[in-house]
Amino acid sequence: MTNFQPVEAAVTLSVIWIGLGAIGLACMRAPKLITGVVFPAGALVSLALAATGLWAIGASPSSAILPAGLPDLPFHVRVDALSGFFLLLLGGVSFGISLFACGYFRDTRATTLAPLSLQYHVFLASMALVLIADDAYLFMVTWESMALSSYFLVTTEHHDERNRRAGFIYLLIAHLGAISILLCFGVLHGGHGDYTFAALRAADLHGFWATVAFLLAFFGFGAKAGMLPLHVWLPEAHPAAPSPVSALMSGVMIKTAIYGMVRVIFDLIGNIRWEWGLTVLLFGAATSLFGVLFALMQHDLKRLLAYHSVENIGIILIGIGLAMVFIGSGHPVAGALGLIAGLYHTLNHAVFKGLLFLGAGAILKSTGLRNLNEMGGLIRYLPHTALYFLIGALAISALPPLNGFVSEWLTFQASLQAPQLASSVVRSLVPIVAAVLALSGALTGMCFVKVYGIAFLGQRRHEYSVQPDEASGWERAGMLWLAIACFALGLAPVFVIGELNTVCLALTGAGLSDEAMASGWLWLAPTSGAQASYSPVVFLLVIAAVFGLTFVLVRHFYHGRLRRADPWDCGFPAQTSRMQDSADAFGQPIRQIFAPAFLIKREIPRADDLQPVFTQSVEDRHWYSMYLPIARFTEFLSGHFGRLQQGRISVYLLFSFMTLIALLVFAQ
């Protein structure tokens, strides 16, 4: 096994995944086998894939050619540092999720479970193959198979009409995106039927066509990533799927879109222009703010998490946009910082969003609830889940010393490189985008205070039909894995950044400055120690130390006596759980402050109403301002085309007569 390359490993593992899926389908009779063997095995494969990815980041690019594909175009596969990083992401996150799935799907009907396990593993495999594809055709094939398998996963509960609708919208937007990606490849390739990425790289476009390619790629991958205004499928589709699948989609799948964007824009198109970067930056900012605002309006836990995926995609795009702006205007080092920030956040979001969706799944499984307004006090029933969910919530709220904070911090650092830029407009625009990032970060904090406070804390808002019981061992193991990852990525950023730096070097040829690496593993200093530094370990240690110290000292100097009583609440006598904020009530300040952003529909009872009911719904303007008009326009057009087909044979004859005459005139 001397010349065994990462690429062989990756291909083999994907094939194993597909094989496992097939086995799962075969085990229609023995569902126990599926959850007890197939899924754990899949989890092991994930782990192996993560290892492969880690290996590949260090190793030199390795490529291979598979004996399949189009006649002139066998499938090319290649694993370089970038693919390696994303393989690591895929493997690491899907490991936890698959573990969780082993427990989660235990009491699913066999008829559902068998096809589900097939789709699930094909989904994983196609994501892996997307990451290692090295020619346009294989990329498109795997890309669409990814969409397809996930579509079937989304419509697992196809008896619910809403799920079908969600799946439809999802597949439609995914397909449109795919076509535009395809056209982007069409622009890139020089017409000489050679679709290998090497050839596309060699094409080396400039000017108009380069911009066309960029826009097509941006649209296509943006549609998959859930970027504004193409996000509408995301909050529909992710909640519809079974929770582990939601975790996969939000955690990993939309990251493949980020991978595609980076691969195509940085690697294939090359010679980036800062105007493109600005576009990405502004879209990213808008997306992140919009996403979090709508997340705050939700009371369905999984929808809320889905909207947060939109927000985080925005943050990632900000990082990538910064990188493009800097590289485009000739500051590769600052660009590297931005790119690293973006990729780091990609990894972080994968981890904590996976964790949060798993937590939501655990709640859903034990209580059958998705609506926050019916939860409350779950921390007493699901202590472990509560702990893991808390970690995830702190991480996504970008709070030190967890991982979410590191990447946002890096993004801020990158945006503070703005003074290097030439154009004063961009120079002052970049920090404002950073402020938007800060705003959405703080709003995320608020949102997760709401989620955690309402779901896990407080008093339960209604009697649970069954006594909610804690998640099973498999599920807890899955969540634990991701929770540990949250801490690890938060506490040891220097190592991660070291890896990312190699990725960045391999991709753009520029990396961080040397003194950035110089300041040791404890101090994270992306540019130089003097400029900015951050040490999560010190954070954690000091806070823990102070915690312990105060605890001990208070008991030493005074006492630790404690007694329990009813809540005081300013001495109000009657305490019912309905006096707590509901999820919607908690979002009320946002609704009031950012009213223009929402489409609010209220029904206020009349004064003489006997049973006054107040209902309010917040909807997405994009439906009404963008999608419905397009649909109506299509209807209108097809109505006119329908005139062609109006039944009278004389008219049909007239058509062909006219065509004939017209052509004859044309021919003369």
């Binding site: 004996p67 399949a68 594909g69 189009l70 006649p71 346009a136 055709y137 498109m140 094939v141 795997t142 890309w143 669409e144 198979s145 397809l148 419509t155 196809h158 008896h159 009409e161 079908r164 799946g167 439809f168 597949l171 439609l172 397909h175 449109l176 076509i179 535009s180 395809l182 056209l183 490849f185 069409g186 622009v187 390739h189 020089g190 017409g191 039927g193 679709y195 299509t634 209807e635 057009l637 097809s638 109505g639 085309f641 329908g642 062609l644 087909q645 044979i649 049909y652 004859l653 058509f655 062909s656 065509t659 004939l660 052509l663 004859l664 044309f666 021919a667």
Partner: protein
């Protein structure tokens, strides 16, 4: 030798079934004949692959890599369709929509139909090609009107009149072609032999050929179903028996397109311009767009897929018109995968319609619950026809789109919009039929779903791996067409 079988077997089959077509063993006989035809075609193919193009019977028949693969495809799909039609027609008989006499007519005409198509493909004589096309029209008219319902009569009548008139134009085109050719080749039979024409195409009179192509395009284009000459197509597909819809979409349109392409080769050769190609591109694009927008208005499931056929024929016409090795290759591949996929879809559609006793999509629901194989067949087939990887349709669309992006960028926005709209329309209608709460009744005979999955398997294979000899064919054919 094989060639004699290829043509002789279906002809004999037509006559035999003309006598016994109503007997209980008739469906098996039908399939058997089709099987023999297919075997003969396979043999022919093998020989052509082995030792190149063949001219037989003093040049009246000509087999090159372009038509031989169409012959093989035609024979194959005709065979699988006959397999499908066995239970299908029995069920129709049981549901009382047919009388034994009609069944006899059906079987006999089925064989005759495949005979005429094979003749059209194999003949080297442009005039005989026309005759065969006309004959194919006549046979299918009888098949479309098989149920004798008002709707089917109307459909058949429109089909007859429109295609008859169209083919009359084609005949005039042929006459003009002959008129031009005889200047070079002298009067007599040889002046209509395509091989001869192809050799001297440089010397043919451009003005005449220009006009000739206009007539030929309008004529055979009507049969291909190019907008705005397509109006007969949805009616004929919707009202005929489903096996016939399958072969119409899967084969007849291909054959008509084959005729157009043969003409294009001559004309562009003679004019030395891209006149024919441009016309084809224009018609192709128009058809794609029109069909895509009409898709969303359909209520009848067979009409829906008829329009989708128009869309795909438009795509192929566009590809062939665009020309160039890549696009032509893609066009040929698309021909193959489209006929396989579309016929497979019609198989499932036929059984689905029988199961729920209607062709109205709003009343077909939850197939996956009532009959998983039909449901999955329809779902997978639709996804394949919509150009979802890893199916072969995607492979060809991939090549067509990228080639278009390179050669004719102006066309790509139309294609993008059209494909998007078509996807929304078809998938939005198929999904609720497949998923959801079932509504269906039992069938008196077991549905034949083997053909469906055979076709889909081949299409899947073609999406992931195109066998070298097949690729070889396509390449030779592409060189032939240019």
């Amino acid at each position: 030798m094989e060639l004699m079988f290829v043509l002789g077997v279906p002809f004999a089959g037509g006559i035999m079934l003309g006598f016994w077509g109503h007997r209980h063993f008739a469906p098996e006989l039908n399939s058997g004949m089709s099987l023999l035809t297919f075997l003969a075609a396979a043999g022919l193919t093998a020989r052509v692959i082995a030792d190149g193009p063949v001219l037989v019977w003093d040049g009246n028949f000509f087999v090159d890599s372009f038509n031989v693969f169409l012959v093989a495809l035609t024979a194959f799909v005709a065979f699988t369709t006959s397999l499908f039609s066995r239970p299908y027609m029995r069920i129709e008989l049981a549901h009382g929509r047919l009388t034994p006499n009609r069944l006899r007519l059906y079987h006999s005409m089925y064989q005759m139909f495949s005979f005429t198509m094979l003749l059209a493909l194999l003949t080297n004589n442009v005039g005989v090609l026309w005759v065969a096309m006309e004959a194919a029209t006549l046979t299918t008219v009888l098949l479309v009107s098989l149920y004798r319902t008002p709707a089917s009569l109307e459909a058949a009548w429109k089909y007859f009149i429109l295609c008859g008139v169209g083919l009359a134009q084609a005949l005039f085109g042929t006459i003009l072609l002959y008129f031009a050719a005889e200047k070079v080749l002298g009067p007599g039979g040889t002046a209509l032999l395509w091989t001869q024409l192809n050799e001297v195409k440089g010397g043919l009179e451009p003005t005449v050929l220009g006009l000739a192509f206009v007539f030929l395009l309008v004529g055979y284009g009507t049969k291909v179903g190019l907008a705005p000459l397509h109006n007969w197509l949805p009616d004929a597909h919707a009202e005929g028996p489903t096996p016939i819809s399958a072969v119409l979409s899967g084969l007849l349109l291909n054959v008509a397109l084959y005729a157009v392409v043969r003409a294009k080769v001559l004309v562009d050769g003679a004019l030395g311009t891209h006149f024919a190609g441009n016309l084809m591109m224009g018609f192709g694009l128009l058809s794609v767009v029109v069909a895509a927008f009409l898709l969303s208005r359909q209520k009848d499931i067979k009409r829906l897929f008829a329009y989708s056929s128009i869309e795909h024929m438009g795509l192929m016409t566009f590809a062939f018109g665009m020309g160039g090795a890549l696009a032509t290759f893609a066009g040929l591949l698309h021909m193959t995968v489209h006929s396989l996929t579309k016929s497979a879809i019609f198989f499932t559609v036929g059984h689905a319609a029988q199961k729920s006793g209607t062709q109205i999509m709003a009343d077909i629901r939850g197939l996956i619950g009532s009959n998983p194989t039909i449901g999955w067949g329809l779902m997978i087939g639709s996804l394949a026809i919509l150009g979802m990887p890893p199916f072969g349709v995607f492979a060809s669309e991939f090549m067509i789109l990228t080639a278009a992006m390179h050669q004719q960028p102006w066309a790509t926005p139309f294609l993008l919009v059209a494909l998007g709209v078509a996807f929304a329309a078809i998938f939005g209608k198929v999904q609720p039929m497949v998923f959801g709460e079932p509504s269906a009744k039992r069938l008196p005979h077991r549905p034949a779903l083997v053909p469906v999955f055979v076709h889909l398997a081949i299409v899947l294979l073609l999406g992931l791996y195109i066998p070298p000899y097949l690729a070889g064919w396509y390449r030779q054919a592409a060189q032939l067409i240019g």
